[in-house]
Every structure is written in structure tokens, then in C-alpha cells.
Amino acid sequence: MFELERWQEIFETIRKNKLRTFLTGLSVASGIFILVILLAIGNGMENGVAKQFEKDAENKISVWTGVTSLGYKGLNPGRFIQLKNDDYNQTVQKHQDHLEYKSPAYRIWSGLTTYNKEFGSYRIEGVLPDFQFLENESLVQGRYINLQDQQNYEKVAVIGNKVFTDLFKGKNAIGEYIEITGINFKVIGVFSDPGGEREEARIFMPLSTSQRVFNAGDAIRTLAYTLHSTGNFDKDVEASEVFIAQLENQLKSKHTVAAEDTRAINIRSNLENAKKFYDLNFMISLFFWGVGICTIIAGVVGVSNIMLIIVKERTKEMGIRKALGAEPWSIIAMILHESIFITTIAGFTGLIFGLGLLEIVSPLIDVEYISNPSVDFKTAIITVFILIVAGAIAGFFPAYRAANIKPIEALRDE
């Protein structure tokens, strides 16, 4: 295999048959190229979907209210259901053992915020300490709201990265005072959110403070919970379904809402959405793998076809070589050596082109549901080797047959 003489012989053959070599190489290289791109897109979609769920806790269950759509027990439809602190306290009490994190939130959608001469309008939310984990936030500086802040109606604020860059322009924010709707708040922390800028254009303060400064009484806008995870995705989904059903029941009976009313009380489970998306994602990646494997098969078939043609085309040459004293094995080895050499070079060329394209294009792709399309290098290398080995096996049989034709038959071949 490593004889210099045979390498020379092969290089000469390749040099003299550029078109044939090029076509063989092209089919292999394009097969690998397409596979790399496909796998990368599949991967990108997986990343993209995963990213959609990163902005909040994956198993977050949130409740918000609306207007009743049905009359019930003598009450007219069109009545607004207002969540109160009681609702939160009662639900937490009932489900205490199952809840991992829980927090109500009061919010105003846009609150004018100023610091010195900088100002902006942001979502202001009054929350409890657990909210950090429900929203999947991590602190860049300082601390989050704690229970003492809540109990003492502290005028403290945790601001998002976006707010921080808007107002503070990179200067120190911790301990500084910002004015929210005309009231001074002390900044105690800066957070980042995987959901990106939109999720970081928010300011958090203790729930109690927000209810007081915005004159909300004990009204709250949403409830958010997560359940303890069992580590088993399907079991978690099941548990959250049970929890949601009970929660809905409890809230509906408390607020005198008809069981069939779908608009007064809304409960959304990220887990259920996640399950749908993961199922979809799984199907998509299955599809891409299917297409990828078909591409590889097509590549192998292409290589075998070309090998058949090469062997057919060279039958007479084989006859001549045999008449001149070539042993059958040396003929098989020559053909295989050539084909393995070409598929290897072409396979890696396709791989490099595919990876190169991804390297260039991938950072430019910023579409929802596609993020960082990339391919596992090991997978790519393995597929190249599969193609090489399959090509060699596919080439072996025609080569073996050609090598064992009697020289006079091969010589007669025109």
C-alpha cells in the first residue's frame, strides 16, 4: 500500500485521466458537502428551538387572566377577572409540595425611567425572589430581590442589561438611584437573559413595593410556577398537566368562572409547548438524517457506478497489463488504491468546503428558529470514512472480476 512505485503509477494514471478523476471526486465531494450542510441546518434548527425555550425556565407554568366569555351563576359575561395576592397564597399553599419556584408578578408595560440625563421606557415588574429562576435570568452584577426587600417595601430595582447600557453607558450602576415614574429606586443588580435584548429591557422590583407605588392594592397580573422535575420528561409533562387542571379548577371556582370558559383564565405550560417543539425537532432531525443518509447512499452508488465504468473502460488495459506480467492482486490493488485515494481527497475537500461555508455563513444567520448551524466534526469525519470504505467495497467487486478475466478475453475487449 505504501510502495513508492505504486504511488507514482497512480499519480501518473490520475494525471492522465483528469476528467474521470474529477467526476469521481465531484460526486463524492458534493455528497459530503450536501450532508454537512443538511446536518448543520438540522442542528441549527435544534439550537434555534432550544434557544426559544431558554428565555424562560423550561418547565414554567404561567397564569394570566382576561374577560369572561360566558355567563355563570347569574353573572354576566364580559367581567374582568382580577388576580389578587390571595390567589397566589392559596394556590401555593395547596400545591406546596410540588412547587419548585413560584412567584406572582405585578407589571406595568412601560414605565419612564431616568438616570441623570438618560431616559427610556421599560417594562416594570414587581416580583418575588423566585422570579429570577422562572425567567431563567442570571445576575451580571449585584444581587436579586430578596424577601427582606419584599417585607420592607424597599425601593430597590434590578435592571436588565439593555437598561444598564441605555442608562449607565457602562459606568457603575450598583448603588446608584434611578427614577421610575418619578420615584427614586436604588439599583441593586444587573441581569442578563438568554432571551436577548427584549427580555433584558426590563426592571424588577419587590412585588409589595410595586403594588404600593403603582396604587395596585393587592392586585397581581400573573402567576408563575415551576414543578419539581423528576428527570423524566414525559413524567414531568404528565405531572404538569395534572397540576394545571387542578390550578384551573381552583381559580375558576374561586372567581366564579364557568368551567367551559376558555378566556377568563389562561394557563400556559412551557413544558407542553416544549414537548411539541421537541417532538417536531426530533422529526426534523430524523428527516435531515434520512436525507443525509440517502445522500451518502447516493454518493456510494455514484462511486460504485464510476468504479464499474472505470473497470469496464480499463478492461483491455488490464488484459495488456496481465499479458505483461501483472499479477491479479496488483491490478485489484491498483484500482482500489486509486479509488480510495480519490474518494479520500474528494471527501475531505467536500468536508472542508462544507465546514468553510458554515464558518462564513453561520454567524450571519440570525433567523428565529435557526441558530448557530454547525456540524459535529466527529460525525462528519465518520461519514467521510463510511463513504471511502463503501466506495472501496463497491469498487472491489468489479476490480476483482476484472483482475480475474483471462487476459485474452480482456485483450479482445474493445
Binding site: E9, E12, L324, G325, I408
Partner: protein, 235 residues
């Protein structure tokens, strides 16, 4: 050099057997130049293929340079062909993507001769057939006579015991034929054993012995006065 006894060969064509060689007894001594003649279908090419270890006899014995050629596997057959025999074909059978020099060097490659030495030797034989200036040309750039001379150089390159030529002038005009025959006669004069299959009388008379084949048997075997091809060219 060559010794064959009671050689039989038949081919299967569909359901019938075609008995091509029906008991050939024949021997060639070293340095002889023999032509095998016969009409088409007389079995002369088959005989040459068997002599060239390109085909195998059904019955009988074939001894080449004291070695019994029988039931050889492909590997050993290839080795014997490489060491003992040089082939010259009617259709030249050069490898079309290799230069004249590389074609001549081919048997040496299969002998395991290193590249530099191979090129030297091949060049030497190309000079011998008068084509040193054409060494880098592809077969497609050569005339028929030149191609056959490259083929002769290739046949000589491995320094074989016997040269086997199957209608070496079949694809050439008379003038070129004579030039090629002159070359072959010169090689014979240097002591090489040569067998030529032909159906042309004048070519046959340029050898030293003519064997006539008809319907798979030898009907005559006689030595003749060799006509020098050089003399014929001037006629």
C-alpha cells in the same frame, strides 16, 4: 525451448463444443524463428495463446524452457509471462494514456525494477527500435509502424526467452510490414527465439521455418530459406 505434446483445446459455444486444436505435437529450439500459418479458424491464434500462457490447454503437455506449464494459478502465470515471454499483437495493445517510454517500461515495473533503472532500460530498447526521439509521445501520436515498434521494444524490455507475435504486420502496409519484419529478423539474429502467427506468405518466408495448421492439426512443418526483409523492401 518450447516442447508441446498432444495438445488439445476446445471451446464451448452455446451447447456445442468447438474442437480447435486436435493433438498438436511441436517443438522449437532456442534461436529459431518459426512462423505458424493457416487460414482463419485453423487454430493458430489459439495455439499462440496457449504458448503465451494466456490460455490453457485441455489436454497434453507444454514445456517452456524446461518448465512444465500446467494448472498454474494466475499469480504464477503472470510471473512466467513476465519472465519468459514477450508479446507483440496485431493491434499493438499499447496503453493509450502512457508515453512510448512508459509503455516500454511497463513489464519492468511488474518485474519490480526501480524507476530510474526502468527508464534507462526502456530508453535503451526504444533506441534499438529507432524511436528514441519519440519517447515522450503518446501512442495516438505515432504511426502504425511506430506503434508496432514500440510494442516490440516493450516485448524485448523484460528480456524474455521467447517472443510471440500474433499477426504483427496484420494492421500495417507492406512497406511498414517489411520494416517491422526487418527489425524482428535483427532481434532473431541476436539469438532470440521468435514465433510468428501470420497468414501472409511473404511474411512467413522471412522466418526460418514454417508450420502449417489446418483444422486444428499440423499438416506441414518445414524449414525454409529465410528471405531478408531488407532485400524485399527494395523490390
Amino acid at each position: 525451448m518450447i516442447e508441446i505434446k498432444n495438445l488439445h483445446k476446445s471451446y464451448k459455444t452455446g451447447s456445442t463444443f468447438l474442437h480447435v486444436l486436435k493433438g498438436i505435437n511441436f517443438s522449437v529450439k532456442e534461436g529459431e524463428m518459426v512462423s505458424i500459418m493457416g487460414s482463419s479458424g485453423s487454430g493458430k491464434s489459439t495455439l499462440l495463446n496457449i504458448l503465451g500462457i494466456l490460455d490453457e490447454a485441455d489436454q497434453g503437455t507444454y514445456t517452456l524452457d524446461g518448465v512444465l506449464i500446467k494448472n498454474l494459478n494466475e499469480k504464477i502465470a503472470a510471473r512466467y509471462r513476465n519472465r519468459f515471454l514477450g508479446f507483440i499483437f496485431q493491434s499493438f495493445n499499447l496503453i493509450n494514456y502512457k508515453s512510448a517510454l512508459d509503455n516500454v517500461a511497463m513489464p519492468l515495473y511488474y518485474q519490480g525494477v526501480k524507476r530510474v533503472e526502468r527508464t534507462d532500460k526502456a530508453m535503451h530498447y526504444l533506441e534499438k527500435v529507432g524511436l528514441a526521439d519519440w519517447a515522450t509521445h503518446l501512442p495516438s501520436e505515432l504511426s502504425g509502424g511506430q506503434k508496432q515498434r514500440v510494442a516490440i521494444a516493450r516485448a524485448l524490455a523484460s528480456d524474455p526467452k521467447v517472443l510471440l507475435a500474433d499477426e504483427p504486420t496484420g494492421a500495417l502496409d507492406s512497406k511498414t510490414s517489411y520494416e517491422v519484419m526487418e527489425l524482428i529478423q535483427g532481434i532473431n539474429d541476436e539469438g532470440k527465439t521468435i514465433l510468428i502467427v501470420t497468414h501472409e506468405e511473404d511474411i512467413a518466408h522471412m522466418t526460418k521455418r514454417i508450420v502449417h495448421l489446418k483444422d486444428g492439426v499440423i499438416i506441414s512443418d518445414s524449414t525454409v530459406n529465410q528471405r531478408k526483409a531488407k532485400a524485399m523492401e527494395n523490390v
